[in-house]
Each structure stands twice: as structure tokens, then as C-alpha cells.
Amino acid sequence: MPAVQVRGEVLSVKQTGAYLAMTLVASGIAEQTRPGQFVALAVSGDDGSMLLRRAFSIHQVASRGVYGGTIEFIFSVSGKGTAWLAGRHPHDPVDVVGPLGRPFALPKDPANCVLVGGGYGAAPLFMLADALRKRGCRVDFVLGAANADRLFGALDAKRMAATVAFTTDDGSYGEEGRVSDVLPGVIDRVRADVVYACGPMAMLEAVYAVSAEAYGGAGIPTQVAVEESMACGIGVCMTCVLPVIGDDGQTRMVRSCVEGPVFAGDRIRWDALGTVPADTVGAIAAGATTAAR
């Protein structure tokens, strides 16, 4: 089923730690959402001055119940668009497109899975944990944040996972440090087969680096859900691109909304994020005249 555009209705906006959780009635989206997919929301109303859609990973869905299909996503106020969202009240309309993007790929056979989340970037990992456990996978979490307030989903993680390791930059909860500091120990301890990660790009890069060096350099597969700013979420604006290596070994500037947001960690040109590497298909030679609008 393709993505749908629906006029969602706000069910609730609740504080959760340092973040906000918005639940929307958005029928047609909840029913077909898979872990790692996202929604793109219009902000500022039908005649508002903010035209670009805001993309949010889907945290939870409920396809049945009194309200029909509901979706929940986590956000924090970081600009005018998210401030507008934070000011919505129950029953307010919000235009939603979703579910969008490629979901996390699940192992065919039961496997030991480590799920790594940074801040509220961890939001989509709980649906993923559910899906993995249903397949008989072992799930262990590593959750990190700047401080205890900004850890997201600690209770859910404890409930769902075999073990949870917490890190905070300031040591206010769990170990002081980054998720990538404790990840090597977790991978070894649980004999991990695959790592899933979602959070800021710098964290994803560090997680990938650890996973690639696991088991004495043999490495284990990593799937990361990237965060790139988007204007549309549906693949037409070409703004959310990053350099990704294709099946043919060639690097292309790839749209994270339709070809991601989940990528295999070894396909991303981590060293070249924010640039167009010189060996990218169609890269303009340095010094050449740049293209038009």
C-alpha cells in the first residue's frame, strides 16, 4: 500500500521527559506502518507561512480501539514548526502523509539484536523491538543521551529487552560517556548478530564504526535510520540526499526519504556526509561551473 495523505486529528500532546509525544488519529497510516517508517506533517495550517513538511519517526501505532488508527511520534521544540505542533490541542486538525520510507529489515531467522538509540531518536526502536521479539529474536538496548532527562524510553526498554545499557554525557544516569563507548562490550556479551541504530548522525557514524570492528574486525551488519532535513518526505524535493554506495559499488546522492531513512551502515559514505564525493555518479569536477536551479 502506498502512503496516504489524511487529515489527522490531535488526540493528545503530552510531556515525556524532556520531549513531547503527540498522538494523532490518522486512519490508513497506523494500519500499514512498519518499524522505522515516518510521517510528514504540514505545519502552520492550510494558509500558513511554513510550507515545508516536518518529518517524524513513528514511535507507536494502534490500529484498533475507540479512535481507530492512531500514530504517536516524539518531538522537541526546536523551531517555529515544532512550536506550532506543540501548541496544538486535542481535536485540532493536522495534515499527515505516511507511512513513508523504507522500514528496518528484520532477520529471517531468530538473531541477537542490539538496538542503539540516542535521545528521542530512539523512538522507532520500540516498534522494532516488538517485531523482533515476535520473530523470536533476542533484543538488547543501548540508550544514550546528554543527560538523564533526555533519555527516551528507559522504562519501555527495560520491559522489552533482555538487558539495557544506559549512557549519559554527564553521567547523570547509567555510565558516563557515549553509546559507542559501551557498545563493543554489549556486542561481545550478548553475541550480537545485528545492530540497529537511530539517533543523530554523529552517533550513527560512531555506532557503525564500532559494529564494523566487532569480533576482531569481522564486523556485524548494522542498520541505521538517518536524520536528514526534508521538505516533502515523498521523494520529489531532492533536499534530503546523502552519499550512498549502491549495489553496483557506485556512490550516488540518494534521497533518504524514499531510499531510506534506513540504510545498511556499510553503504553510507560517512566520511563524506554533507559533501558530494568526487567519485559520485555525475559529480561536477572541482572548479567547474556549478549547475543552475
Binding site: 507561512s49 510550507l51 513538511r53 531532492m238 533536499t239 540526499v241 524514499v258
Partner: protein, 359 residues
């Protein structure tokens, strides 16, 4: 100018059957709403949200001879009622387009307007030649490209360079397919560019491309876009776009125009039709509302119906008609008849506005 009896705006007459068909050179289309280049890829991504066969057509993202990676990120910045983009014409090149996207458009029955972009007159000519034998509804020539043979001077900013491109494209393009030049508003006199393109054989004009802008991030204190400047689009540029359509239609009333720039609603589209556009393209609004092409087509139809207008064609350029003397709807006060001079206009509230020369 067609003789149209206008009903009062807002009258309830949604039942009026409206003929939405329009003509762009030799191309007849049943609907005047197209997607704008660079805002719909090659159509596929918008199919879940629109019946693309019901609108006028899809204008593809500009196609070049070779694949191009585009610019680094950040490529986009939101601005009040608009956005800046600096994509750098990322695309797979015309051969991949013809192999992969063109067949899909044909299978779906979508009218395809192929936008082409080149760095030299020769590249434009080659691109147009590759469209021979292809089911293309119209060719839109994106001349807002730097001319690599002229220190990166943008073709659209020089009448001679613009004309050279159009002449070359018209020569190699399939003869039955209309060729439209898409003009940049970043010029001193858009009418002179328009005249040069039409003189060189353009069958029509698309007005307007984005206008160059920039944003500086107050935190980093550097330009927000990796490309420093970007094209401004969205409702923020609508009055500018409308002015361009108005001026060009006034100068070249027989040249079909596609109106583009910040169209967000059916009444926005109507403004462009009234200014002289035979059709419109909707672009940035698609990012906000992926079903906007369909919605705007419906809204435009309703807006025409509400005004008692049975044919879209009847109102193309209608806003250019001279101001008419209107009889005040309120009864005249007793006494002498008001003397209204020939050059006067009576506005809706009955005030007499007198001009020294009739506008």
C-alpha cells in the same frame, strides 16, 4: 477580448459546467494545471496522491545529457511563505530518463512536458533531438542555466543567448511538439527576453523560474545553503510572478503562457489566468500538499463556476480589459444626476475615481 458577462464574485452557482480545456501552441489539454519542473520528479512519486491523467500534465525535473549529482547539503531553507533551494539539477541524464521514466509516464497516460537543461547551445540542441520519436506533449527549455561557454552567464539573462538556445532547440526538436522557454525573473526587462525567445521560434513561454535569494544562519553566521544562494519559490514570489505574466501578456498577447510562481489555491491560479496565462504550473505547494495539483484544479473549476464562467479560455487575460464604467448599485441621491467624466471609474462603493488619462 472575449465578451464575458461577469457575475458577482461569490455567487452560488457551483452547478455551472466549466470547460477547463486550454491550448498551448499545438497542444490541446483538458485541464490547465500542470506540475512545475523540479517539484514532481518525473511524476511517479505523486501518483499515490493525484490522478495525473486528469490534470494538464507533469513537467519533469530538468533533464540533462549526462547524470549529475547536484550540490552538497544543506540544499534547502524555509523562508516566510516560501523556500530556497539549491539542488544543482540532480538527475540521471536523458538516457536513463528515456529508459526508465518516460515509459512509465506513457503507460499511465500522463501528458509529459519534458524540461531540458544544458550548459551550451549544442547541449540543448542534442537534448531536444533525443526527444524525436518520443511521446512528448511539450518541451520546456530551462534556460536558467549557466552558459559554460560564456563565463557561466545565465542564458535566461541575455536575450541573444536565450534566442540562440531556443532557435537550436526548435530546429532539432520534434516539429509537432511545442517548445516553451522558461524565463527567469532575475532580469531588467523580462519582456525583451520574452520577445527574443518568441522571435527565435518559441511556441510559448513559462513564467517564471525561481528568483535568486539567500539566508544566513544567525548561529553559524554563515550562509545556510551549501550553495550560498538558492532559488526562492512559493507564495512569497507570487506577486512577482503575476507581474511578469501580466507584462509579457500585454506585450505578446498571442503567445501562450504557462503561469508559475507560488500558486497555492484555485483562486491563485485564476489570478494567473486573468493576467494572461493559458495554463498554470504548481510547484513548491506540492511539498506542502502532495495532492495540490488535483486540489487546485478542482478549486479553479469551482472558482470559475462561482463566477458563472463556462469556459476557462474566456477569461485568459481578462484582467487586461480596460476599466469599465459601472453604474452604482445604490440608488442615486435625489437631485442632480452625478456627472461622471469619460475617464472616470466608479468603484464598488460608488466612489468616482477620476484619472487624468484613461489607463
Amino acid at each position: 477580448m472575449p465578451d464575458v458577462v461577469l457575475r458577482t464574485t461569490g455567487a452560488d452557482s457551483p452547478d455551472v459546467e466549466v470547460d477547463m480545456s486550454t491550448t498551448l501552441g499545438s497542444l490541446d489539454v483538458p485541464d490547465p494545471v500542470f506540475t512545475a519542473s523540479g517539484c514532481a520528479a518525473a511524476g511517479l512519486e505523486l501518483a499515490p496522491f493525484n490522478d495525473l491523467t486528469a490534470i494538464g500534465g507533469v513537467v519533469t525535473k530538468s533533464i540533462q545529457l549526462a547524470a549529475r549529482s547536484g550540490r552538497p547539503t544543506p540544499r534547502m531553507a524555509e523562508t516566510p511563505s516560501g523556500m530556497l533551494n539549491s539542488i544543482g539539477l540532480q538527475g540521471p541524464g536523458i538516457d536513463v530518463f528515456l529508459d526508465r521514466d518516460r515509459p512509465w509516464l506513457e503507460e499511465q497516460g500522463v501528458r509529459a512536458v519534458v524540461s531540458i537543461a544544458g550548459g551550451s547551445v549544442d547541449e540543448f540542441a542534442k537534448l531536444a533531438g533525443k526527444l524525436r520519436g518520443q511521446p512528448v506533449a511539450l518541451i520546456e527549455v530551462n534556460i536558467s542555466c549557466p552558459n559554460v561557454e560564456d563565463r557561466g552567464q545565465v542564458f535566461a539573462c541575455d536575450p541573444n543567448a536565450a534566442a540562440a538556445v531556443i532557435q537550436a532547440v526548435r530546429r532539432t526538436a520534434p516539429s509537432q511538439v511545442p517548445v516553451f522557454a522558461k524565463l527567469s525573473p532575475d532580469v531588467t526587462d523580462i519582456v525583451s527576453i520574452a520577445r527574443a525567445c518568441v522571435g527565435a521560434g518559441a511556441d510559448g513561454l513559462s513564467l517564471i523560474n525561481t528568483t535568486l535569494g539567500m539566508v544566513i544562519d544567525p548561529e553559524t553566521m554563515r550562509p545556510t545553503l551549501a550553495g550560498v544562494t538558492g532559488g526562492l519559490s512559493g507564495p512569497a514570489i507570487r506577486p512577482l510572478a503575476l507581474r511578469c505574466v501580466w507584462q509579457v501578456h500585454a506585450a505578446l498577447p498571442d503567445t501562450p503562457l504557462m503561469g508559475i510562481g507560488g500558486i497555492r489555491s484555485g483562486t491563485d491560479a485564476l489570478e494567473f489566468i486573468l493576467a494572461g496565462a493559458s495554463a498554470v504550473q504548481v510547484g513548491t505547494v506540492i511539498f506542502n500538499d502532495p495532492s495540490a495539483p488535483t486540489r487546485i484544479s478542482h478549486e479553479l473549476r469551482a472558482a470559475l463556476a462561482a463566477r458563472g464562467i463556462a469556459r476557462l479560455r474566456d477569461v485568459i487575460g481578462l484582467a487586461h480589459r480596460p476599466p469599465q464604467l459601472r453604474v452604482p448599485e445604490t440608488p442615486d441621491p435625489p437631485g442632480d444626476e452625478p456627472v461622471i467624466p469619460d475617464t472616470a471609474v466608479v468603484d464598488r462603493s460608488g466612489h468616482v475615481v477620476t484619472f487624468e488619462d484613461a489607463p
